[in-house]
Structures are given as C-alpha cells and as structure tokens.
C-alpha cells in the first residue's frame, strides 16, 4: 500500500519544533508514507485567529485548503496531514464549517478563490496508527526502547472536540500508548494524558503554565516515568523549554526529558542525529539514554 498526503508542517516546525518536523518527515519516509508539502502554505492563525474572529481563521486555513485542492487535481492524494494538533484542529474545524453554504461563500470571497475542501484531514499520528496500521512500525524497529519508562501526553486537542477531530477516545486515547509500546518502551498509565498544559498562555500568564504544566510534570514523576512523550509542539515547549521556569515558580526540581513520539520512533529505528535531533531538546535526554544503554549492555 502506498500512501501519499499533502503535508502541512505548521509554523513552529520552522523554529521551536524543528525536531518534530524533521523527525516526522524521517518517520514517514521510513514507513513509505509520501509527504508532498503544500507549496507556499501560510500560517493557519492558530489560537489567536479563532480567538479574534472565526471568519479570519477560516480564511487563513482556506488558502491552504485551496492549494491542496489544486494539488489533488494534479495527483492522487489520500488526504491532508499535519503533525501539529493546533493546525489540525483549525484545518478540520474550517472544513466542518465550510459545509454551511453561506459561510462557504463568505470564505471564498475573502480568500479570493473557489474551495472544495473535501480531502480527508488527519494528524500524522492518526495516519500511522489507522491508515498504515501500528504493525507497520514493527518492521521499523531495529533497536527497541527496552527499559525506557514513558508516559504518553496527548495534550488537549489531538482528540477534542470529538465531533470535529474524529480520532480515538476523547477521554482516554490509546494511539500514542500503543505506538510507544510497539517501539519497545514501557508505557505507564497516565491519568493526565489529555489534561491541558496551559497552551498559548506561556508568554502572557506564566502562573497558569506553572500550575498546569507543573502538574503534568509532577504526575509523570510520581508515575515513575523517565520521560514524557508528546505529539504537540506547544505542549512540548511548555514542558521542556519552560521546565526551568516552572521549577523556579513551583520550587520543584524536575529534570524530565520531553520527547516527540517521532524522535523516539527514529531512535528505535536506529536513525542518526540528523533526523532525531535529540540535541534540540532543552532538558537533555543524554544521561537517561546513556544509563539505558549501559543497563542493557549496549554502547551508548
């Protein structure tokens, strides 16, 4: 089976989550999923756009959907995919709202083109576990992540609201759990797997992040995890880059690596630094990985 998707990387993939974009592309390549980047894609507007105006949000998304329409006329595409849950929610919400003819007409007027917007829209995670099937990962795994204890952290909107996202269980998703288990990691039960990290309040209200992301870090440590695994650039940034801020605010001493699942897939597949980009993580996972390698008697 060969799968081909229009790929929407999202802005953070060019900066704060470069390692997510790079490792996602590497994961898809090794699984035989073809990614065709949406040419000249623009920002979906993220939370600021939908918090300011729903028409503006839909129009920013609409331009990208329109370009994907053009791509689909030229070649067979199985849909549109993105690694970022915020981009995903905006893409899917807009597609959903375009079903209203009056809203559709308004959006076309502002975008300045006609829109079909009929391609299925999914996260990369959903494509890997649903379209490809989790067993496909087994072939990829050369160095199972034996002994690595992780908690899966989905964040809020990968699965919510369920009416729009149509993926996994909105209260207790298992896609990431199953994927990480397939990679050989020990996946611990994590009751906070869909609790909010504080999202985009990181810059403006640090007290909210310290409380919510702090709670996620506390719970991961209490669960006995070596690391947290995310699928969201904003969750990752709040938990990893802001971990020192959170420690200061909460008088805690966390030193918890926060991986993207695609980085761990690359690690298990024996891929090198150029695609896993472990150096980009602010809390270094090196001591942890070295300890694991030492424990299993393999070279670090």
């Amino acid at each position: 089976m060969s799968l081909s998707y229009a790929y929407y990387p999202g802005c953070s993939g060019l900066g704060t989550s470069l390692e997510y974009d790079t490792s996602t592309r590497a994961l898809c390549r090794s699984l035989g999923i073809e990614l065709v980047e949406i040419p000249d894609w623009n920002c979906c507007g993220s939370t600021p756009a939908h918090a300011v105006d729903h028409l503006l949000s839909a129009c920013l998304v609409g331009r990208n959907l329109g370009i994907a329409d053009d791509m689909a006329e030229e070649r067979k595409l199985d849909g549109i995919i993105t690694p970022c849950p915020s981009c995903l929610k905006n893409l899917k919400t807009t597609q959903h709202r375009l079903a209203d003819p009056e809203f559709h007409r308004k959006v076309e007027l502002v975008v300045g083109r006609t829109l079909k917007a009929e391609l299925p829209i999914k996260s990369v995670l959903q494509v890997v576990v649903e379209d490809l099937g989790i067993q496909a990962l087994a072939k990829l795994v050369k160095e199972p992540l034996k002994g690595l204890k992780v908690v899966p952290y989905y964040g809020c909107i990968m699965v919510r609201p369920p009416q729009i996202m149509q993926f996994d269980d909105p209260e207790n998703p298992m896609a990431l759990d199953n994927l990480l288990a397939e990679l050989g990691a020990e996946v611990l039960p994590f009751p906070l797997k869909t609790d909010c990290c504080g999202a985009s309040l990181g810059t403006t209200r640090k007290d909210v992040i310290a409380k919510l992301s702090g709670r996620v870090l506390d719970a991961a440590e209490e669960a006995g995890a070596d690391a947290i695994v995310t699928a969201c650039p904003l969750c990752q940034m709040n938990l990893d880059m802001r971990q020192s801020q959170i420690n200061r605010a909460n008088h805690s001493g966390h030193n918890m690596p926060v991986f993207y699942y695609s980085q761990l897939a690359g690690l298990a597949a024996g891929q090198g630094e150029t695609s896993t980009m472990l150096d980009k993580l602010c809390v270094s996972p090196r001591p942890l990985l070295a300890a694991l390698a030492g424990h299993t008697g393999e070279g670090a």
């Binding site: 000249d40 920002c43 300011v52 809020c156 919510r160 009416q163 909010c196 810059t203 980009k280």
Partner: protein, 183 residues
Amino acid sequence: MPSSTKTFDSDFIAEVQRESEQDLALCYQCGNCTAGCPVSFAYDYPVNQIMRLVQAGKKQEALSSHAIWLCASCETCTTRCPNDIDVARIMDVLRHMARRENIVSEKAVSAFWKAFLESVEKHGRVFELGLMANYVGKTGKMFTDMDLAPMALRKGKLGLKAHDIKKLAEIRGIFDRYREQKQ
C-alpha cells in the same frame, strides 16, 4: 460600569446565539464544564457562571470578565457538555464581542494575539522572534522569556530570519478583504 441587577440585554443573548450557532437555553447549569475546566483557578467567573451571565443577558459582566481571555481553548467543556453545547465556541464569540466593544480585561493576552496576527499578515507565517519583539513593544514586558532566549538561540529554536511565503500579496489580500467584510 453599570452592573445593576436590573440590566437584561436580550439583543446580547440573540447575538451570542447567532454568532456561536448554539442554543443557550440548553444549558441547565450542571457544572460539568466548570468541573473539567483546567484554568478555573485563574478565572474570576467559572465557565458555568459565564454561561449563566449570558443566559441572563448580563452583557457588561460577561464581556468584562477575565475568564474569557484566559480560556485556553482546550475543548474540555465542549467535549463533556451533556447537551452538546459548544461552550468553547461561545467563549471564542465572547472574546470577539469584547474586542469589538473595546473591553479587554487581560491586556497582555490580547496584545500577544494581536502581535501574532500581525506577524502572519506581514510574513504569511509566524516569525517567532519578531512576534516576541512586537509583543514586548506592545506591553513593555521587557523581561518576558528573556531567561529562555539564550537557550532557544543556542538550540537554533528561534530562527533569526523570517520565513516569508512567496505570494505575500495573497495573504495581504485576505486580511484586506476580511476587514472590508467586517465593516
């Protein structure tokens, strides 16, 4: 600011209903939205009380609340509402209305969103470093995340250059036509 118990603004209720496409009468105050809301601790009104203020036509109280700006759009309320009310969409709509009325109880949040969208209009994509500079300029919050800058720069996580899209005119056109529509 009038907050008389006698104020009842039925136009406000109708407007929230129209813009959010939700039936406010369906909320029977079970409190599920509030029970799940992660940001309640920072709110002045918990989300079920915001819903009640809207039902009661208390426009001024609802739009001047801090809660509507602090909602993280996590969609827990929408997911758990037993009557399928899209509560997060109503919070969005209240923010839209508050902005239009020039009532901004959390100035930093509003300034951050504005700086973000200005970056999108200018480059077609968010330029994170430029966004932060613009935000600092708007708020005077000079030391926001200064502690993170060395780490982010060392890791190459804050690009020094913007990644402008090629057809910037298309983005500018979208923003221009959007503003015309809204007038």
